[in-house]
């Protein structure tokens, strides 16, 4: 990509500048590697391709801008934390708008693997935000309970109970039980 990058990498560090460049490139490479996973998480979390990629873009911009604030902790957890927070802010901003839910959304029109995908997406949509995030971070992204507790800034016990509720709720929804009726004022 950068002409002469290989040559720079082969010569021994000549001082602070070279080390700083290398650290910067490591950081960027690390971020870059995580983009596909962040997109997957964002897509499942926001359930809209454009919103999801907006979230990822904002996450990346923010991460790259705060590169100097990042002191070699767990890059992956840090990026998931930014994305999770951005999504929470986005939802807060939207909270005043009335939600539009599909009418008679039975899923009867879908079939095969499409139906499976559709069902799980619909079931996800019925979860509360925090529960959905926990479920996705554990199941889809393979983060540990500890990491998620740090991301959500809650005790591990809270992560566990969110996970248990999310799984129970999804299971009931997929099994065709009526999901709890949304309260209508």
């Amino acid at each position: 990509m950068i002409p002469g990058a290989a040559a720079v990498a082969e010569t021994p560090p000549r001082g602070r500048q070279v080390r700083a460049n290398r650290a910067m490139n490591d950081f960027r490479d690390g971020v870059e590697e995580l983009i596909p996973a962040l997109r997957r998480y964002a897509r499942a979390l926001a359930r809209d391709a454009d919103i999801a990629d907006d979230l990822v873009q904002d996450t990346l911009v923010r991460a790259l801008r705060s590169e100097k604030l990042f002191h070699g902790g767990d890059l992956r957890s840090w990026l998931y934390t930014i994305l999770t927070n951005l999504n929470r802010n986005r939802r807060r901003a939207l909270a005043r708008r009335p939600p539009l839910l599909p009418l008679n959304d039975t899923g009867a029109d879908a079939s095969g693997t499409e139906a499976e995908g559709g069902d799980i997406a619909r079931a996800l949509a019925t979860l509360v935000e925090e529960q959905r995030a926990v479920l996705l971070l554990v199941v889809l992204e393979g983060l540990s309970y500890r990491e998620i507790a740090d991301i959500q800034r809650v005790p591990i016990g809270t992560v566990m109970s969110r996970l248990a509720r999310a799984r129970a709720h999804i299971r009931a929804t997929l099994a065709g039980e009526r999901p709890m009726l949304k309260r209508v004022k």
Partner: protein, 257 residues
């Protein structure tokens, strides 16, 4: 099968499924599951949820990363910074101007070119976006032909930008008379039927500052780049318009105009 000495808790079942259970408890949990079918069924259902999630969302992981999320673009892109600054300045000026009616403030350069271009482009925009059956002469499905034909007629390389990132698909294009020379007119549409048009023609100016204009129904962003004037018209939503404009700008910049 005998129950383990210590009963298995629900937390442990989750930890078991998620690989967080201490090794020494594994045997106990497996024994518990073989003698507690309801729990075994629950665990199976959790695994099914995991499979369904991966089946649905792993494809996103495997997709190529879209250009706007590529790290080089996010870290190293002077044109984008330039344009973002230009747009911000334009929008600030627009808001300060009260946003009513025509608005053509901004620095010194060539208000007449700006005005001619935007008036023509917005006229075309209004005329054709309402067309349901014949909005374009050449359909977007014939992209290569469309680009070749328009390029030949307007005298510079016309490349229809990919605006999928903004949720827009190319409907097609047509040739129009322009202020000084023929104009290429491209129309895009979102899934919800929102339409944007991109109007380009030779412009005798090097001013590159981006300008915004709007009336009560339509908004337009105008800029010039290497002798070509661009007007992107769409809804008056400035954020949306500048989002699309950025993508157009980046791509025309890349293709070398």
């Amino acid at each position: 099968m005998t129950d383990p000495k210590i009963p298995v808790t629900e937390d442990e079942l989750h930890a078991y499924v998620d690989g967080e259970l201490p090794d020494e408890r594994h045997g106990d949990v497996e024994a518990w599951l073989s003698s507690h079918p309801a729990d075994a069924e629950r665990v199976a259902s959790w695994r099914a949820i995991a499979e369904a999630l991966h089946a649905r969302y792993d494809q996103v992981f495997d997709e190529p990363v879209p250009p706007r999320l590529q790290i080089d673009r996010l870290t190293n892109r002077p044109p984008r910074r330039w344009i973002a600054g230009a747009i911000a300045a334009t929008l600030a000026a627009f808001i300060a101007g009260g946003g009513a009616g025509w608005f053509a403030h901004g620095a010194a350069a060539t208000p007449s070119i700006f005005r001619n271009f935007t008036v023509d482009a917005l006229d075309a925009h209004r005329l054709y976006v309402v067309e349901v059956r014949h909005p374009v002469e050449v359909e977007g499905s014939e992209r290569a032909h469309l680009q070749q034909w328009l390029s030949k007629r307007v005298g510079y390389v016309v490349r229809a930008p990919e605006l999928d990132g903004a949720g827009l698909k190319l409907v097609g294009g047509r040739l129009l008379p322009g202020p000084d020379a023929p104009a290429a007119f491209l129309m895009y549409e979102s899934a919800s039927g929102e339409r944007f048009t991109l109007y380009t023609s030779r412009a005798k100016t090097d001013a590159t500052q981006m300008r915004y204009a709007s009336d009560d129904r339509d908004g337009a962003l105008f800029w010039t780049d290497r002798g070509v004037g661009y007007v992107l018209s769409g809804p008056t939503d400035r954020d949306r318009l500048s989002e699309v404009a950025k993508q157009v700008y980046e791509q025309t910049d890349k293709s070398g105009g």
